[in-house]
Amino acid sequence: MEKGHSHTLKVWRQKDAISKGEFKTYKIDNVSTGSSFLEMLDILNEKLLEKGEDPIHFDHDCREGICGTCSLYINGRPHGPDRLVTACQLHMRSFKDGETITIEPWRAKSFPVIKDLIVDRSAFDRIIQAGGFVSVRTGSVEDANAIPVAKKNADEAMDAAACIGCGACVAACKNASAMLFVSAKVSQLALLPQGKVERKQRALKMVAQMEEEGFGACTNTGACSAECPKGIELTHIARLNREYINASLTAEEK
């Protein structure tokens, strides 16, 4: 087995939502390059616990890049240096031996810090509640094959539906805009016949909620898509804009 790496970690520590936070520096040695980034933090936390210090709190669950829970801003980038990878899938081989690694929470007004590296992303849930669904009751539906969907549309809807709701797009954006996240849901449902009936209200309501939550405006920098671990594309923002304009122009149908 190859010898592990050493790192200096600068980590954002903040006791709770109201306390002021600060960076603290930690040293960690002999980290296997095959370890995941979060395993590296687990190891550090075990050491902190042994010393009687409060471990570094960070959000995580599936550790497979799919639940969207992990949310670390690593060396100035959401989810760290690798493309199309969540923080939980990042491995220590992506860092050089001896490298200093800075770890911060998502920084956005609408995602307030709860503790250390954990933020409150409930704003995303409220945006979905505003209209990110098709209104069908359980049991009130017809046979699944009664509505064919062109494969191209189904595939494109799936591309959009791949969003994991992590919030990296917001963290990456200098305006802290949530457009990529919102567009992914609007686009998925606009592409499918099932979503067509409510498409106007959906675009208007979700955008209104996004604004109410205090997310910034989109100025088309593209940083969101570049940092999105699921590769959600800017074309979805274009589709959202079209949906929104179309819905606003025919507002009486709201």
């Binding site: 687990d42 550790r63 799919i66 509640q129 669904f133 359980t138 017809e142 699944a144 094959n145």
Partner: protein, 644 residues
């Protein structure tokens, strides 16, 4: 108490329809007078909470994650089964029923499984209507694949992210009900006890994971949909937060726990890389459709591989042992999970395993790529290959993948009757946390089906029958049962916080995991199990003397969260061992070394063990009491599984 499974009378195919008709209904105008608590908002709980809200009940739903969209169901990759027979390849409700009963090694209830197969079609209809982007054919109709060795193509999928898409579907339905004010959602909230008033479940005690506040919630019925307990083993494919606490607390309040020893060990996971690992990653089983499993014929070749003297591709054809194809010529690489796992263990025990630790076997795509071309393989498995490469830094197009079995799913769980009600009236259990439909072994793509069947199509009927019989008067959380339960929870927390020992929670958890894996894992025997029982008990006693926590209750404290969960795992581990000891037969995921054929295959003992083991809690430091629910098979003939 005598177990009553409440299986309706009549022919198998008519039971559910008749039963639905016989169930009492709550009048539409009265539904708003009833409150239901749903703990867990994965596929089972999310679907149930949304459906209850639509019906008009007041729902309070809870999950430990920051959002219901993140439940562990999200991680399911492969797909969901349904007896649609869209492929015209001979599938039917009866065939799906039959496959599930047989796959479960004849240890599941016929009536439940038949109902599952029956409603499977509705699930697909429902999900499509919600906008779940299932894979489609060029003509625009839904695509299917064959999965986990099924002889028909009945698995619906959304790329390698089926669980995610189904969960987001349920989450969208749930979000609609939250917006409508019918569901009140409590994320980052953990249930720590269930509360009984006059012997019926009437509420829960929770801890707010951000503030630490201990709170009571009351309702007319409580549903647990809290997922599986695979994390007893420390390392598993389950999410880090998956836990047994809700189920275990219910058990300690009188809900019987069924078949705790039935765990599924999945054959295709990425091998453990060292002792610092926290979590294992599943590689979808669909890979076995095209990948060939092998190890070197000779131990010496395996040694040279380990030392890096040779590469896998240097090993000539005649020195490879495609052991699944050799032992099981008719099923080959597609044998069921338990068989594939056990054989991987056997070849590694013989010293023929590969990889750094010798605990891995190859899954090789060389021949498939030669046959179909790289493009075809990439279209099928591209994202999985990419994920594998990210984790291991090996490129599966060039060198075979390495895989090893890992704990994946728990068939055991809270005992429920046909109505999904536990032995505590008013307490229901759905999804992976109940024991119901998979017997001793679950087939691929059937857990998603069961979770959604329970949540969308079973509970909404059966809970009404219960509620129709109880008063709609509000239940006050000032009742002494709530006050006592809160106090007990607070005491447990304070006790843990004040032990101030010298070992971390993870250290204990790892030790427990190792005992379970070595002695109650892929193969079990009486001697090992008896040792395990002692060791777990010792570990548990030590835990309550020596565990080291930090911080306080009134803050976000992940060490405390973990400590509470591990305390429950330590107790559940012992019950799993008791159950494994009692079941002196091999069936499904439970392989008792004492019960095997001359060829080393699992040997069931139908004469003595055709029953569900339901365990009753008898008090601290007392042995649990076993109750047997005898399984009657009227529609299938019991045969020994053979995949030769």
């Amino acid at each position: 108490m005598k177990l009553d499974s409440k299986i309706p009378e009549g022919p198998l195919a008519e039971k559910w329809t008749k039963h639905k008709f016989n169930l009492k209904l709550v009048n539409p105008a009265n539904k708003r007078k009833y409150d239901i608590i749903v703990v867990g908002t994965g596929l089972a709980g999310g679907a149930a909470a949304a459906s209850f809200g639509e019906l008009g009940y007041n729902v309070k739903a809870f999950c430990y994650q920051d959002s219901p969209r993140r439940a562990h169901s999200i991680a399911a990759q492969g797909g969901i089964n349904a007896a649609k027979n869209y492929q015209n390849d001979g599938d039917s409700v009866f065939r799906l029923f039959y496959d599930t009963i047989k796959g479960g090694d004849y240890r599941a209830r016929e009536a439940n499984v038949y109902r599952l197969a029956e409603v499977s079609s509705n699930i697909i209809d429902q999900c499509v209507a919600q906008g779940v982007p299932f894979a489609r054919e060029y003509g625009g109709l839904l695509d299917n694949r064959s999965f986990g060795g099924a002889q028909v193509s009945r698995t619906f999928y959304a790329r390698g992210q089926t669980g995610q898409q189904l969960l987001l579907g349920a989450y969208s339905a749930l979000s609609r009900q939250i917006a409508a004010g019918k569901v009140e959602m409590f994320p980052r909230t953990e249930m720590l006890d269930v509360v009984l008033v006059d012997g019926e479940a009437k509420g829960i005690v929770t801890r707010n994971l951000v503030t630490g506040k201990i709170e009571s919630h009351s309702a007319h019925a409580v549903v647990l949909a809290t997922g599986g307990y695979g994390n007893v083993f420390f390392l598993s494919t389950n999410a880090m937060g998956c836990n047994a606490t809700a189920a275990w607390r219910a058990y300690k309040k009188g809900a019987y726990f069924a078949n705790p020893c039935y765990t599924q060990i999945h054959p295709t996971c990425i091998p453990v890389h060292g002792d610092q690992q926290s979590k294992l990653t599943l590689m979808s089983e669909s890979l076995r459709n095209d990948g060939r499993v092998w190890v070197p014929k000779e131990q010496s070749t395996a040694e040279s591989l380990k030392k890096g003297e040779i590469k896998p591709k240097d090993i000539p054809e005649e020195e490879r042992d495609y052991y699944l194809e050799r032992i099981y010529p008719s099923f080959g690489n597609l044998v069921p999970r338990d068989v594939a796992s056990r054989n991987a263990k056997n070849v590694c025990d013989e010293g023929r395993g590969v990889g750094e630790t010798g605990l891995a076997v190859f899954l090789d795509f060389r021949d498939a790529i030669q046959r179909d071309g790289k493009d075809v393989i990439e279209a099928k498995y591209g994202n999985l290959f990419q994920m594998y490469e990210k984790i291991t830094a090996d490129n599966p197009y060039e060198t075979p993948m390495m895989i090893y079995p890992a704990v994946h799913y728990t068939m055991g769980g809270i005992w429920v009757d046909y109505n999904l009600q536990t032995t505590i009236p008013g307490l229901f259990a759905a999804g992976e946390c109940n024991f119901s439909d998979h017997g001793a072994n679950r087939l691929g793509a059937s857990a998603l089906m069961q979770g959604l069947a329970d949540g969308y199509f079973v509970l909404p009927y059966t809970i009404g029958n219960y509620l129709a019989n109880v008063s709609s008067a509000k239940i006050s959380t000032d009742h002494e049962a709530f006050i006592e339960a809160e106090k007990a929870v607070e005491e447990r927390i304070n006790k843990l916080l004040n032990i101030n020992g010298h070992k971390t929670v993870d250290q204990f958890h790892k030790e427990l995991g190792k005992i379970m894996w070595d002695k109650c894992g892929m193969a079990r025997n009486e001697k090992g199990l008896k040792e395990a029982k002692k060791e777990i008990k010792q570990l548990r006693l030590d835990y309550w003397k020596n565990v080291k926590l930090i911080g306080a209750n009134n803050e976000l404290n992940m060490t405390l969260e973990k400590a509470l969960r591990v305390a429950d795992f330590l107790e559940l581990g012992e019950l799993m061992v008791d159950d494994a000891l009692n079941r002196r037969e091999s069936c499904g995921g439970h392989f008792r070394e004492e019960s095997q054929t001359e060829e080393g295959e699992a040997k069931r003992d139908d004469e003595n063990f055709t029953y569900v083991s339901a365990w009753e809690y008898k008090g601290a430091e007392k042995e649990a009491q076993l109750h047997k629910e005898i399984l009657e098979f009227e529609n299938v003939k019991l045969t020994q599984r053979s995949y030769k």
